[in-house]
């Protein structure tokens, strides 16, 4: 029997009787249909071993039928035929002919009702007159199957055999559709491959169920088998590719292509028919088990579910062996797809959580930045100084007030951004230096060399370094010069900020050792947001200055990547 094509007679076997062997004779004689024709001289063979040669062939077999309400007879064969029951012509499939031109192919499978007058319990003779000129050379034999029994049991058996695959067909089509739509939205290979895998499985189901559900002329049988083999190859290859993509396996493209090539080679070497397709699924599922195992070992989230699904497939493969294609393939793949869906569901939940966390971080950082400048220590001290000038030197008070306004305005502008151009960052730093200059009675300068004003940076990163330098150093009145230097390499740039170390005698000795406490946390959080794990920051004293080096990748992403 061909891969996966169970016949109507397979169910309700107790009331059914199957022809195990038949006598055959080449040639053509209408008398050979008669029940009492002496065929003792005809060779007797099991039905699976009947000869397969051109020309008209007669077969005779005996069936001992049980008592039935209504007797039915199923005849399946890859041949045009006439079916005789006790010498009476019950039905034909196509037209039997002595040559290819004369013959018309008919359906593979046919179920007929035996008239009640001929249905008495006991022995009966079934005679078949056949020809098979339209069978391709590659086809394997007559594929004869003759079953007699209760008519209703034969019909219901066929329906039951179709029902289960239909359930899986619906499931596979839905999952394929879902991932197809998902791919349209996320453009991920993993989504496309999952959709393709489910589509391939659905088509395989259609190809398998085609014979029972619709039927076709016998010369189409080989075409269907080729389609089944191609879809088996596609399903096996896509299974490996899908898991490799879902778990972001290293070298996944090469692996998927290698496995696909290997499976094609297997089909070619072992040959078509059930052994070939079985080998394809065996190798593909073994590879899938390896990938899922790798994912579990590497603690990929949800990998356990996929591993369990693949393991079920593997167990079905081991226990069912050559029956796998026929009895276990689709339920096993159903479990596998369920495992995959669980994994994808978990993955999507994690992505959602990460997204929410990223939004929360962004909001927190914005609040932190604004708070830093609304906090009493900064704002009230600035206002106290301005109040002093309002009373003693109003023009100076006006200038200081303008500087403070400029800093607060710039800050409000940039605080909601995740990345701003360096030019704006430098402007923000300089407004802060103006304000602090007025307050401290210094002239603060920030000299930038090699800085690309267009390049992006999270807001207030350099500003925080400037702020720390002023907070933790007690500069003597006069000019204080900070420098910022940028150097570019192939994949990253280095920003070097240098602040002179200075203190009044014995004033802030302790603070010089760790001059960046609170602000550094803000900088780290900002950089983690836009370049997680891809930046470094070193700081330390270098010949009278506190030097901070910031290494940033050139491609800072405004939104955390998925």
């Amino acid at each position: 029997m061909a891969a996966g094509c169970a016949s109507p007679g397979d169910l309700g076997a107790s009331s059914l009787v199957v022809a195990e062997e038949a006598r055959f004779q080449f040639g053509d004689d209408v008398r050979w249909a008669a029940p009492d024709w002496n065929d003792d001289a005809w060779p007797l063979r099991p039905v699976a071993a009947l000869p397969d040669s051109a020309g008209v062939l007669w077969l005779r077999m005996r069936l001992d039928v049980p008592p039935t309400e209504t007797l039915g007879l199923v005849v399946a064969a890859a041949a045009a035929r006439e079916v005789y029951w006790d010498g009476v012509l019950l039905g034909t499939a196509g037209r039997v002919g002595a040559s290819r031109a004369e013959e018309v192919p008919g359906p593979m499978d046919a179920l007929v009702r035996v008239p009640d007058s001929l249905a008495a319990p006991g022995p009966h003779v079934v005679a078949l007159r056949l020809s098979s000129f339209h069978r391709p050379e590659a086809a394997n034999g007559l594929l004869l199957h003759v079953v007699a029994g209760e008519y209703r049991a034969l019909v219901e058996g066929a329906l039951l055999l179709i029902a289960l695959p239909l359930v899986f067909l619906g499931a596979f089509v839905l999952v394929a559709l879902y991932h197809g739509l998902l791919f349209a939205a996320d453009r991920r290979w993993a989504s496309l491959l999952t959709a393709a895998l489910c589509l391939s499985l659905a088509l395989l189901l259609v190809a398998e169920g085609w014979r029972l559900a619709v039927g076709y002329p016998y010369d189409w049988h080989v075409v269907r088998l080729r389609i089944v083999e191609a879809l088996s190859w596609a399903s096996g290859s896509l299974l490996v590719a899908t898991l490799a993509a879902q778990f972001a396996l290293p070298q996944r493209r090469a692996l998927a292509l290698t496995v696909a090539g290997l499976l094609a080679l297997l089909l070619f070497v072992i040959g078509p028919h059930e052994v070939g397709t079985f080998a394809v699924f065996a190798v593909a599922i073994a590879c899938a088990l390896g990938i899922a195992g790798w994912a579990v070992l590497h603690r990929k989230p949800g990998a356990r579910f996929v591993f369990a699904g693949v393991a079920v497939c593997f167990a079905a493969l081991v226990f069912a062996r050559l029956d796998f294609m026929e009895s276990a393939l689709f339920p096993a793949f159903g479990v596998l797809i369920a495992g995959l869906l669980t994994h994808l569901g978990l993955q999507s939940r994690r992505q959602h959580e990460r997204h929410v966390a990223a939004l929360a971080t962004a909001a927190r950082l914005e609040a932190e930045l604004l708070k830093k400048h609304l906090q009493p220590h900064f704002l009230m001290n600035a206002l106290t100084s301005i109040l002093e000038w309002v009373e003693t030197d109003p023009p100076q008070g006006a200038r200081a007030l303008e500087a403070l306004s400029a800093e607060l305005r710039t800050l409000a502008d940039v605080s909601g951004e995740r990345l701003i151009p360096m030019a704006r960052e430098l402007a923000l730093c300089r407004t802060h230096l103006d304000v602090m200059g007025y307050r401290k009675g210094n002239t603060f300068a920030l000299e930038a060399t090699g800085v690309d004003g267009e390049a992006l940076i999270p807001p207030a990163v350099i500003h925080t370094l400037v702020e720390n330098a002023i907070t933790h150093n007690a500069y003597a009145p006069g000019l204080v010069r900070f420098t910022l230097h940028e150097e570019r390499a192939a994949t990253h740039r280095t920003l070097t900020f240098s602040a002179p170390l200075a203190s009044l005698p014995s004033a802030t000795q302790a603070l010089q050792v760790r001059p960046e406490r609170g602000g550094l946390r803000y900088i780290r959080a900002r950089l983690d947001e836009c370049a997680p794990g891809r930046w470094t920051l070193d700081a330390g004293p270098e010949s009278g200055a506190w030097v901070t080096r910031l290494h940033l990748p050139l491609d800072l992403a405004p939104v955390p990547s998925r």
Partner: protein, 232 residues
């Protein structure tokens, strides 16, 4: 009055100095400005001021450590800070006043009045006591009475133990709750500790405490004490 201003922002220090001299120039005999309390340390030891105007960033542990070190000293502490939300905590450790930034002449006038003898707006809940280089906080509720000992004060606790505070009786009285009353040149007592006033020979008076201990009451203060105790 000797004044020390601890303020690291030049303009704000200048403002404090200008306003204090405007408002009380005739009383101020000396006014120094230091950027930090540490920097002022040597000078504090040589000639302790009467009051320190302390600029504190109270938004952090360091600010309150500095504050405790300051209130444990003999001089009065006036906090000048932007963190008004921490004012009550500052009063609880015994500052005389809390001046929120930004400030003007009016607010400093109030501070100067408190310095001239009024009590703190909020009394201390704890007294910072420096012992062997460490600063302990003694709950005011555990103090039975205070006894002068030279320029220092001895806090006599309800359990009988004694702690020495660097402040004089006058300065302590300014930050203690109103339940404390001066009954003698050398004694402050918590009135609810007094069970009776006893007349001693030579028309001298003594306050008898719950513990049975007797403290002398100054002749000029008898009427006031009697009044506070509700004995008239």
């Amino acid at each position: 009055m000797r004044v020390l201003v601890v303020e690291d922002e030049r303009i704000i220090a200048q403002r404090l100095r200008r306003l204090l001299l405007d408002l009380a120039g005739h009383e101020i005999t000396r006014l120094d400005v230091c950027p930090t309390l540490d920097a002022a340390r040597a000078q504090l030891d040589a000639s302790p001021p009467d009051v320190v105007f302390l600029d504190l960033n109270l938004n952090g542990a360091d600010g309150f450590d500095l504050l405790r070190a300051s209130v444990a000293e003999s001089f009065h502490t006036v906090v000048v800070s932007a963190h008004t939300e921490r004012a009550l905590e500052a009063f609880e450790v015994g500052v005389l006043d809390f001046v929120p930034k930004p400030f003007g002449a009016d607010r400093l006038t109030t501070t100067l009045e408190r310095l001239r003898g009024a009590r703190a707006q909020h009394p201390a809940a704890m007294l910072a006591v420096r012992t062997a280089g460490r600063i302990d906080l003694v709950p005011v509720a555990s103090v039975a009475y205070v006894r002068a000992a030279g320029s220092y004060a001895e806090l006599v606790l309800r359990d009988g133990s004694v702690r020495v505070h660097a402040k004089s009786l006058d300065r302590l009285l300014a930050v203690l709750p109103s339940s404390f009353e001066r009954i003698h040149r050398s004694y402050l007592v918590r009135l609810d500790e007094v069970v009776q006033l006893r007349v001693r020979e030579g028309s001298r008076y003594a306050a008898v405490l719950a513990s049975g201990e007797e403290l002398p009451v100054g002749r000029t203060r008898v009427e006031a004490v009697r009044h506070r105790l509700g004995l008239t």
